[in-house]
Symmetry: C2
């Protein structure tokens, strides 16, 4: 009695299960926005679907609706004007709780099949979602397509694969027969029911409204929970499209669509009341330390999976590919104007400079060469706009201005304002590079979100490694990097990352970047330093989202 | 390059892995204290080993020792007089942290092999440990042997099997090759290192010093963590023997024994400072709500796995085996004088009575018949002493006296003080049964630990089921039971337990009891109601005790 949707998507699930076991390259959803892969009319259909949302009420048919709310501001200056249903949280919670009973009865296999169908349907909407992501976050088109659609879907599928694997270990029933010597054995029949913990709240962020939302969403949903998605106030549309599709697939399968809903509010207090509601049993969050820590401190009734701020950093000791290293770093610092949670903020360089294949380079030369590399990389406007995108928030614009003023350190490369010919009102800024001394900890040892990086002068390589470890252990990081031609340096850095628990990229000089994290292969976050208390994705990310309730009787 | 101890114990591990997958009956360690199974001299050797601890310093060779502390009082009135090393917590923490580096390097397979060897060695000490458990907890001999030794070892092995399964999913390395169309593929080599979260603290309880300690101990140890065992102040010896054996096996394998240590203190403040120390990353606890909740509220730096108090309960609707049902309940209420965290405290009986194979029985008749069944079961002194054991704490003695006074409800069966001929100073009490109305919630709706049970009169069966659900949801429970000949009642109770998340035993009338939980098959606790935030054992119990740190580079 395999669920038909489980059967339909079995090869996708099997691929994902094999991928999380081997952690080699694998992807279920094509990352190229190509008509050959997505259908000849897909790009235009997706564009039109996106355009059709502009200025409209986004109908979801949710319970408890009291009005409409919108107000997203596009970093590209595009007028969006979509408004979304505002529903009372209590109505959403109650409806989700009611819907959970039949969702539990569907069983792990059925839930997995339906989640696979949802992902497949979201994949078919990739162009529409990509436009929504681009226009709400300021990502460039290619990133918006890849990170917003197929890569986000891969991350959702990854979480789903973990959830299925853990649930599949729980037998539905057992025959328990204990020998009693010469007496008849004790025989019991046992049943094991997987039950969700309760309604899940998934709080999205403003920069990656799908990529950072799908892991928690699918982990919670697959394990039997109703889910309320609370998007960032400026990135609602990608979440709304996602929720509508989920609700449609649920309804098509005879299930109550209110299992999954969208919660839109402009009041922090509403989100706080929702997050601390006794019925909310898990909270997934990506965002600031302030609100994230508030959630951890106050949502005592729930499991909180939080990805917070950090100070990603890189140690440069030496390289045998100086030019390629600078090019790799220039791309990392420029991509989406440094608005990735994985972008490097602090680059530690020994005061005595570094050995390279182009001779010894002083600290000042490294600063100047990296600045030139960024300038060169962004010298063609079409490359610059595709890579940089636009600045997501006014706060980031202000931080850039502050950095440019020299108050945060010596300006090695000033930020420039660019004009995007396609979007004249777009807020485009190039990265700012600052130089400072390791002792100036107040400058670089807090997250300065956006295209702001510090080239930090350290006493030597050993000091740089020790500093990197301390930064990660105390302030957190999702990524660190090291460049060295010396094995002992790589080993010391490796051991430092084991202690501080952060992912390490070594000598990246080609087409892979420290700020990129590949689903099924790279763990995004370790869950072991202050930047995140969970990883995308592993068993720990799913195993505590459901519980097993047994019953037994004499057989 | 399989670790020799992994190879040596592979069949035990394979058996455990198969058992957690099928949840049928399985056990690695014989539960009968038989010389045929444990060796002809094992009983006497074990007795002598136990006797040799009396009045002695229990040497462990731990760092930071400042003195000795003992003072365990045997519920059997036996003079123990063993004292244990008092060491500064900071010294134990620092030594464990240091030892963790090489423990990490041993790898998951090596750690699993060494833990299997430890369990095997503990099994060989079963008689010694059983005497230690009996004399510190007041358990009867058979229970002390079974629950204190082989069943505790099974629970440790079960946690170890989960820990190994989860760790075995993490590949040591991966080859990642991403196609780039007509260009050469991107190729990365990746390494994945399993690292423990940090030093674990395992806080034992006074009634089951090994059974409730081994799951957390082996889960934490196997996943790469150092462990500090903080036993209950009156049940130190079983933990001390365990820790000494672990340290010996570590040393034999060339490892730093300070990875695992015993922390003895008579100051609550010392335990509190230890539990909230920044280096302590997990806390396993079994015990009172007051201290457990304090740990959950204050140990924000650690994962807390807590088994707390609850109000286990049973709904009696009807039965076709009245006599056997009463006999089964009489055993449950008597076993270890009701001092099990799984003993039923509230028995819900409809005001209109119940239908049985011996005709309709009024509420009052059920009360009287259950009282008689307990009396009859305990009428033979040798049975009574073997089953009851002795009362572990003065607090429990006082609670029994309070119940006997009639202040907690109408006394249906008064507790009796028995004289144990083998241990004249033993504190032996028979169970007290009270009758009260469902409305008298203050009487039965908090845990009254010990041989104190309430037969609660409910309006009808539906009210009993609703009350059971509410008690579990609000006060927690590890076990509930139901007796009914009607399918709709069983279904309603089953659904109630899915909502309140508690294990259900149905119509137990034979040789299995609601307060018994079999390793590998029965989940002990669901982790979904206030009685426990984790289950023994499941993936969630182990998966968050380690983290994975990756590194990657161009291949």
């Amino acid at each position: 009695m395999t669920h038909p949707l489980f059967e339909k998507h079995r090869s996708t699930l099997d691929g994902a299960l094999a991928a999380i076991a081997t952690r080699g390259y694998w992807s279920a959803y094509p990352e190229m926005p190509s008509p050959k892969l997505y259908g000849e009319t897909a790009p235009e259909d997706g564009r039109r679907a996106f355009e059709a949302h502009k200025g409209q009420h986004f109908e979801l048919g949710q319970p408890g609706q009291t009005g409409w709310h919108g107000g997203e501001i596009s970093p590209y200056g595009v007028e969006l004007g979509t408004s979304y249903p505002v529903c009372t949280p209590d109505a959403l919670i109650e409806a989700a709780q009611t819907a959970m009973t039949e969702w539990q009865a569907v069983g792990a296999q059925g839930r997995t099949g339906i989640c696979l169908e949802i992902l497949d349907r979201l994949n078919k909407q990739s162009f529409e979602i990509a436009h929504a992501v681009m226009q709400t976050t300021g990502q460039g088109w290619m990133m918006a397509f890849q990170a917003g659609a197929p890569h986000a879907q891969d991350r959702g599928l990854e979480a789903l694969a973990y959830a299925w694997r853990e649930q599949s270990f729980v037998p539905a029933e057992a025959h328990w027969e204990k020998p009693q010597g010469k007496n008849p054995p004790l025989v019991m029949k046992k049943h094991f029911e997987i039950v969700g913990r309760g309604v899940a709240l998934v709080i999205g962020c403003g920069t990656f409204p799908t990529w950072n939302t799908y892991p928690g969403l699918f982990a919670a949903l697959a394990t039997g929970n109703g889910v309320i998605v609370k998007p960032h106030s400026n990135a609602i549309l990608p979440a709304a499209i996602t929720v509508r599709t989920i609700r449609a697939v649920l309804a098509e399968n005879g299930l109550d669509p209110d299992l999954v809903s969208l919660c839109v509010t402009d009041k922090r207090a509403t989100t706080q009341a929702l997050a601390t509601h006794p019925a909310i049993k898990s909270v997934d969050f990506t965002g600031s330390n302030v609100f994230g820590q508030w959630l951890i401190d106050n949502c005592r009734q729930a499991q909180v999976y939080a990805e917070l701020a950090g100070v990603n950093n890189i140690v440069i000791d030496s390289t045998d590919a100086y030019k390629a290293t600078l090019g790799n770093l220039a791309f990392t610092l420029s991509l989406y104007s440094g608005q990735m949670c994985t972008t490097s903020q602090a680059i530690f360089v020994p005061a005595g400079g570094i050995d390279t294949d182009e001779g010894h380079k002083s600290y000042d030369e490294v600063c100047a060469d990296l600045a030139r590399a960024v300038e060169r990389f962004l010298s063609k406007p079409e490359v610059a706009h595709a890579v940089l995108g636009a600045i997501q928030s006014n706060d980031t614009l202000e931080r850039i201005a502050l950095a440019d003023s020299g108050e945060l350190g010596q300006v090695v490369l000033a930020s420039k304002t660019l004009e995007n010919p396609d979007f004249p009102a777009a807020r485009v800024r190039t990265p700012v590079l600052l130089a400072c001394d390791a002792a100036d900890e107040r400058l670089y040892m807090e997250e300065r979100f956006g295209p702001i990086s510090f080239i930090v002068k350290t006493a030597d390589t050993a000091a740089a490694i020790a500093l990197s470890e301390r930064v990660v252990a105390t302030h957190g990081a999702l990524t660190v990097g090291v460049y060295s031609t010396r094995q002992e340096v790589l080993e010391a850095m490796t051991k430092a990352t084991w202690r501080s628990k952060v992912a390490l990229s070594i000598n990246l000089s080609g087409g892979v970047f420290v700020n990129q994290s590949a689903a099924f292969s790279d763990y995004h976050g370790t869950g072991g330093n202050p930047a995140a208390n969970a990883a995308y994705a592993d068993s720990a990310f799913v195993a505590n989202r459901f519980r097993v309730v047994q019953r037994r009787y004499h057989a």
